[in-house]
Amino acid sequence: MENGSILTYLLITPILGSLILLFIRKEQENLIQWFGLAVSLAAFIISLVMFTNFDQSNGSFQLVEKYLWIDGLNVSYHIGVDGISVLLILLTTFLTPLTLISTWGTIKKNIKLFTFFMLFLEAGMLGVFISLDLFLFYIFWEAMLIPMYFIIGVWGGENRIYASIKFFIYTMFGSLLMLVAIIWLAVDASSQLGYFTTNLLELYKVGPTIARDIQNYLFLAFFFSFAIKVPLFPLHTWLPDAHVQAPTAGSVILAGVLLKMGTYGLIRFNLPLFPQASVEFAPYISVFAVIGIIYGALVAMVQTDMKKLVAYSSVAHLGFVVLGIFAMTVESVQGAVIQMINHGLSTGALFLLVGMIYERTHSREISFYGGIAKLVPVYATFLMIASLSSIGLPGMNGFIGEFLILLGSFKSQVLDNWWFTIFAASGVIFAAVYLLWMYQRVVFGNVTNPKLENLSDMNGKEWLVLVPIILLIFWIGIYPTTFLDITETSTINILEQVQNFTIKLLN
């Protein structure tokens, strides 16, 4: 394998896999499942090889490939990674095989189509993280809606049609506004550079020179699109619907990777393309982020449905990420990236755990349970670990991310206000309240519901899915340097770009 085009291999593996899958007969369900797993594992291995070729000390884009694609509009197949996208790619390729395994036995309807869409989705997500051309990025960004739409709509719960359409239209609305902004940027580039281009690296030079009032509009168009995806309060209303109706695998991918595309977009596009506007809007956005942290936590607290509770906890967690990004310090942005990974792992694990118990009892109501610690001790332990990780207990991953974000926002010169940190910190306490309270009601006490008596504990497949996630949770918690080293230089690079046009951000 040639190292020069490893990103293409990575992208093409799930695409080819999904195409080959179409030629397998629908009835050979076992073969389909194993094939899907093999393809996603292959993608994981390729992403590990890519990681070994990645130079952490270099903050610029690496493993870059560029071929002219659409001559007439100067669009290139231009891909590459930096420290931030590398982590997100690894998260994607890590979660996909695990989710595929988790669907064995739980997805019974049309396994072939499901596996096809999961691989298609993986390709779309990888494409989003590696694109260095705005046109290419937009294509992956939109194309990825299709598989998720089907995954919610075909394999989802009772209200799946409403949820899937809401998901699609919400996201599409934001992204089309972004499309107009992308074209605007490219047209503006043609007056400055002399040629129409959507090349991100060239637009990094064009974006900051755009007149301030127009830059604000462009910033808002991009921001709106990403904020819907994140989702930032008050644009989050599609999320609980989508999460609750989606099948477990859908929720895991949605929470684990899809939401990260929004925050990734903010880091990759909003900050460096429109630095002046970013600094100007940062305090306002941070207000919404903090509201989201508190609101998400309060709403999560009153949920009676476990899945909905986890869904609202996502709103709170992603609020932290957005706060970290717009605090614009090295610590906070790195914390935001780590928190993106953390949220993927811990919320992913929580969704998997909720899904596992739902498979057994067909209920997600908290009041349905009680006292299951005696019946399923292993399950209770896993749920404990995942909850504590989500709360941010020191020694686990969540703590690192939240701590860095709070630290960074505290000394942020862009925000320049302690109250953001103080209010955000209260979100950590709320998180402990809603998760531990849920845990207490579900796991402790006496078994009151006779339907629970035959509950079986975790099986081998479920162990296999959860153990790798738990290991990573502790790895990040105990030795975060591994991950912080990856993101550091790239983070500094992005902040330098912002600093060049605005106020001093780096020491």
């Binding site: 049609i161 899937s164 359409i165 699609f168 599409m172 609305f173």
Partner: protein, 476 residues
């Protein structure tokens, strides 16, 4: 007359279709097996004319003393018309048999209509435009009513004829005024002296009438009233043809106006007009389509809305718009023909049922049809990387270059609205179960047509360069 053999060679697409019409007439008269022979003759002439045009695209010449242009821009249009028609012929073979309209005239009329479109796209003289238009329109009036035993089909034909004649009246009156001021019927000399002529108000009135006449033909709001009934009532294959190639032919004429403002740059007096009809068509089409329960009617409103997107380009009036519209037309033609092809297959099984409910559970009955239908719906909604997205992208570029960003934003809103009804069909096919069990029979020719359209929609989306370079080579 063509001066030498090389010029005759360039005329071959027109000649072959003309000869095809005559031969088809004779076969229809003397052969008992005309129904089985004629589809293949039409298929042959269309494929030949389409391929011939695209091969000779660089041989751009004006024949018949400045009457007809061959090669270049018309060649692209000829390609769209002929390949579109060929795909619909494949669909028709089984479809019209079911409705007992499988007489020779069906194929003869389709060939006439396509010949008319080719004349329109290539004409360099206003009268040639008119002749082409009438050749196309009259054939379509009859074709709309080809399902003689269905009252809705008859109604569609009558409605189409009356409103079509009305629109023709506008066009003729417009031509009269244009000729009155310019004393020439040559398109080129009108374009050359455009700035002088436009000082005369009668010329502008004439042009406006001419444009309004063609606004009927492209199905733009507020000249759309015939569209829903005609699209719904006509035989599905005919609807497929007139919604795509018919629209393309009308746009090929409107592009003349665009080149007039391009050559005399700074004169885009009709930009406000096109901006208004673009806005109204996009929004009206998308919003009203939401309320439709009949798929053909829904696609009729979608067609109004797509006319609006293309009219954005006419309002922008720059060179990006020119190539953008042509690309959009090609993309629209293939995705719509694919969709109507599938409708015709389902309609045959389901006792003429074209309601959305007839599609419930299609994914389990025929995964391939459901997959392709979803593909066409996503393409129509403008989801990348399909052909429809690229068309929209290009048109939006032209709008933003022309400082009409607001028009692109309206387009965005309309696209979001339209996603709802395109997706609703997908919802029926994939997310709902069918109420009754029907044995679905898919004939191989229709399937071939659907698959080819689908491949083109994907190919033009993933590799827009293939088509774009051809378009750019003729536009510059």
């Amino acid at each position: 007359m063509p001066q030498n053999s090389q010029e005759i060679l360039l005329m071959l697409p027109h000649v072959v279709i003309g000869v095809g019409i005559v031969i088809s007439l004779l076969i229809e008269m003397y052969s008992k097996k005309s129904e089985t022979i004629l589809p293949w003759i039409s298929l042959f002439v269309f494929v030949f004319a389409g391929v011939h045009s695209i091969i000779n695209i660089s041989a751009n010449q004006i024949l018949f003393g400045g009457m007809l242009e061959v090669g270049g821009k018309p060649a692209i249009f000829n390609f769209i018309f002929n390949i579109g028609a060929a795909l619909l012929i494949l669909n028709s073979i089984d479809y019209i048999k079911k409705y007992e309209s499988n007489h020779g005239e069906y194929y003869i009329l389709i060939q006439s209509a396509i010949l008319g479109m080719m004349v329109m796209a290539g004409s360099k003289d206003i009268f040639m435009i008119f002749i082409g238009l009438e050749l196309m329109s009259i054939a379509f009036y009859v074709l709309a009513g080809i399902n003689k035993k269905k009252s809705s089909s008859n109604e569609a034909a009558l409605k189409y004829f009356l409103l079509g004649a009305f629109a023709t009246g506008f066009i003729v009156y417009g031509i009269a005024l244009i000729y009155g001021v310019s004393s020439t019927t040559s398109v080129d000399s009108i374009i050359q002296n455009f700035s002088t002529f436009t000082q005369n108000i009668l010329f502008i009135v004439g042009l406006l009438l001419f444009i309004i006449g063609f606004s009927f033909k492209i199905a733009a709001f507020p000249f759309h009233m015939w569209v829903p009934d005609v699209y719904q009532g006509s035989a599905t294959t005919v609807t497929g043809l007139m919604s795509t190639t018919g629209k393309t032919a009308a746009f090929s004429v409107l592009l003349i106006i665009l080149s007039a403002s391009l050559i005399n740059y700074n004169i885009d007096i009709f930009a406000p007009y096109f901006a208004v009809i673009a806005t109204l068509s996009m929004l009206y089409g998308s919003i009203v389509a939401i309320a439709q329960k009949n798929l053909k009617r829904m696609l009729a409103y979608s067609s109004i809305s797509h006319a609006g997107y293309m009219a954005i380009g006419l309002a922008a009036a720059n060179s990006e718009a020119f190539s953008g519209i042509i690309f959009y037309l090609a993309a629209y033609t293939f995705m719509n023909i694919g969709a109507f092809g599938i409708i015709s297959i389902i309609e045959k099984q389901n006792d003429a049922n074209t309601d959305l409910t007839a599609y419930a559970g299609l994914a389990s009955k025929s995964p391939i049809l459901a997959a392709f239908m979803s593909l066409f719906m996503f393409a129509l909604a403008g989801i990348p990387p399909l052909a429809g997205f690229f068309g929209k992208y290009y048109v939006f570029i032209s709008a933003i270059e022309a400082d009409l960003t607001w028009l692109a934003v309206v387009g965005v809103f309309s696209s979001v609205i339209s996603v709802y009804f395109y997706l609703r069909l997908v919802v029926y096919m994939y997310f709902k179960e069918s109420e009754k069990d029907i044995d679905l029979h898919i004939d191989k020719y229709s399937l071939l047509s659907v698959v080819v359209s689908g491949i083109l929609v994907i190919y033009f989306g993933i590799s827009p360069d293939s088509l774009l370079n051809l378009i750019l080579s003729v536009v510059n």
